[in-house]
Amino acid sequence: MNIIQIVSLSLVATILVIILKQYRPEFSILISLIACIFVVLFAFEKIQTIISMLNDLIFASGINKTFFEILIKITGIAYIVELASNLCADAGEKAIASKVEFAGKVLIVTMSVPIITTLIETITEVI
């Protein structure tokens, strides 16, 4: 599964979606969902190596590990939320898409609270 397969898969899926859009719109959404999932799964395999490399780097440099874990979680949330909101927008449901994005943002901010508090503490120590 390399980039050429990915590109051809997404083009074929787009054509299938257009074919089916006028007859059975619900199937067209399912086809685009499946195509998105395949491309994302392909990318996530590659991300695995990046994350393990970053893990080793962070572990070697001795920086606080919890921040890195929070960052990884935030990127995970961002990917999934972006996938869901684009799919909803494609299907014409802009309201649902924006609500999914809103929930994702709220979750990301709540997860980054510890980082913000430690940042403020370090700043107050300096001043």
Binding site: Y23, S28, L33, G76
Partner: protein, 64 residues
């Protein structure tokens, strides 16, 4: 596995669309609705399997 699934779903979609038209022309709208729904359920069963696969990958990868 993945490309075939895409074509399988497209084939079911087209088949259901054709069946729907045929049944509607034959005057049996209720059966047309039934075939559409069954086709949709079959495809949804396949799609749900893929979605759970994606969510498991995300959970393990980003330890969400």
């Amino acid at each position: 596995m993945d490309v075939e699934l895409l074509f399988k779903i497209a084939a079911i979609g087209i088949l259901v669309a054709v069946l729907h038209q045929v049944l509607v022309r034959a005057g049996r709208e209720d059966q047309a609705m039934m075939t559409t729904l069954t086709g949709l359920v079959i495809v949804l069963a396949m799609v749900v399997e893929q979605i759970s696969d994606l969510f498991n990958t995300v959970k393990t990868l980003f330890n969400l």
